[in-house]
């Protein structure tokens, strides 16, 4: 930790990254495999990272989730997020059943790249199982996805939803919509880093439901740290966003 990036940028703060991926992306840069992911986490200094698989996200769900299980079982810093693709209901249920009670998996994830709106009937059907399992659902939410994301959250008031990217360019809308949905949490990473976004979310939403994520290995985690380092908020709020909220939500022991 003493030589890590965090020790320079956020001295004294513990950081839990709730939004990360392992795998190769079709863009130039470093392909982050399991070993690369461990090395990167060493270099940055994150205490814990919740990881889903790029392979599962874009191609083969069982293969990708199994890869995440291997990573999480081998290193206590890493926890799994089980991806499902609701275009295949049986496979989705099988994957959730397999990993919901796995001690190293703490949530599930869907992405609109699978061709379904987050409130599509296929997704809602699988969410019934997640609600029964009490497994929080993280989901990619982008500009324009607000009504669909809110609709899904209203369908399942006892299921915790994480709106990753906080609706991107619609982050003000995300704060407005989610404020009255107590089962919704926001994570705000995007490659366009609007000045004032974190401050707005803290001011207009509930700081106890704001989480830090990097979207590594798509984005460089050093880059993703910028907005929370620069945010004009109290250190108490910064601490909640960076780690306290995640420890409470996912029952991570100190």
């Amino acid at each position: 930790m003493s030589d890590s990036v965090l020790s320079r940028l956020l001295p004294g703060f513990e950081v839990i990254d709730v939004h990360a991926h392992v795998g190769r992306w079709d863009y130039p840069g470093e392909a982050i495999d399991l070993d690369g992911f461990r090395r990167q986490t060493d270099r940055i200094g994150f205490a814990k990272v919740i990881v889903s698989s790029r392979t599962a996200l874009s191609y083969d769900v069982p293969e990708g989730n199994a890869e995440i299980a291997r990573l999480a079982e081998a290193d206590e810093r890493f926890h799994g997020s089980v991806i499902f693709n609701a275009n295949n209901y049986e496979e989705s249920c099988e994957q959730i059943e397999r990993y919901a009670d796995h001690p190293r998996f703490v949530c599930a994830k869907i992405h609109t790249c699978m061709g379904l709106a987050v409130n599509a009937p296929q997704n809602l059907r699988v969410m019934e199982l997640l609600a029964r399992k009490k497994l929080p659902l993280t989901m990619h939410t982008w500009t324009g996805d607000g009504p669909a994301a809110a609709d899904a959250a209203k369908h399942f008031p006892d299921l915790t939803f994480f709106w990753f990217h906080a609706l991107a360019g619609d982050y003000r809308k995300a704060a407005e919509l989610a404020k009255d949905l107590p089962n919704v949490c926001l994570e705000f990473v995007t490659s366009t880093q609007e000045r004032g976004k974190v401050e707005h979310l803290v001011q207009h939403f509930d700081v106890n439901r704001i989480f830090f994520g990097t979207d590594q290995s798509l984005l460089n985690p050093v880059y993703a740290l910028g907005p929370i380092v620069e945010a004009d908020i109290s250190d108490a709020d910064r601490r909640k966003i960076l780690s306290d909220n995640a420890r409470r939500m996912f029952r991570f022991e100190k």
Binding site: Q40, Q193, L219, V222, L225, V229
Partner: protein, 240 residues
């Protein structure tokens, strides 16, 4: 290590409630440790490039940490005189274009004319690329030989295309700021050279800290970091 930012703005942002005022820009530069920022008045983007350029020059004369960049809206550029030549004479060090805000594209022949006139005037041009388009390829095809273009505001999705453009156009440079995938800086240094990368953070619209730290933390030499953070931009603009 001097930090020079090629991509700064000031004024008003009519589309959303954003504070991009001059005091906010100056404060942001100080907070980030940026020695100088090359800036454009948003009056020139959203209202009139004539009025905006005059405002930019006035403000830069009053604030030594700001370096003047002009802008031209191709939709309103019909004079037969070369405005880039006049802007260079006035002391502008760069031209920055705003297709997304003004509603035109690189296919507009007036853009081709502006790039040609900038080449003749020796005025570098920053052209925004964005995320998913083939704008970089278009600019690579239409810019006259010798036109020094910074492919600006480009995201990691457009990196491969723009690297290919830079391989074909040795006088082009690339702005790093949104090229934020892991290992991107190392990749770009390896493929096109650190001497062709300049920092641009879109101050004060965006945070900027991540873009700077990404360069500081990159696995490249201190000399290359210094070049990307400021040396290359200074050399491009004739010393700032």
């Amino acid at each position: 290590m001097r930090i020079l930012d090629s991509h700064c703005l000031f004024g008003r942002w009519p589309k959303e409630p954003r504070d991009v005022s001059l005091p906010t820009l100056l404060k942001a530069l100080t907070m980030l440790g940026i020695d100088k920022g090359v800036c454009v008045s948003l009056r020139g983007v959203f209202l009139s490039h004539v009025e905006g350029n005059a405002e930019t020059m006035k403000v830069c004369r009053e604030h030594p940490q700001l370096v003047p960049a002009a802008t031209i809206n191709p939709l309103g550029y019909h004079s037969r005189q070369s405005l880039p030549a006049e802007l260079a004479r006035q002391g502008f060090r760069m031209l920055r274009l705003f297709p997304h805000q003004q509603g035109w594209s690189a296919q507009n022949v007036v853009v081709e004319r502006i790039l040609a006139e900038c080449a003749e005037a020796g005025l570098p041009v920053a052209f925004p690329i964005g995320k998913f388009s083939d704008v970089g390829s278009a600019i690579g095809r239409i810019a006259l030989k010798g036109c020094r273009v910074i492919l600006s505001d480009l995201y990691y999705m457009a990196m491969t295309e723009c690297v290919e453009v830079l391989r074909r156009r040795s006088e082009f440079l690339m702005e790093v700021g949104h090229t934020c995938s892991p290992g991107a800086i190392e990749f770009l240094c390896s493929e096109i050279g650190a001497n062709r990368l300049v920092l641009g953070t879109n101050q004060p619209l965006e945070v900027g800290r991540g873009a700077i730290e990404e360069i500081r933390c990159a696995d490249i030499s201190e000399q290359d970091k210094a070049a990307i953070l400021g040396g290359n931009l200074s050399a491009l603009l004739g010393g700032i």
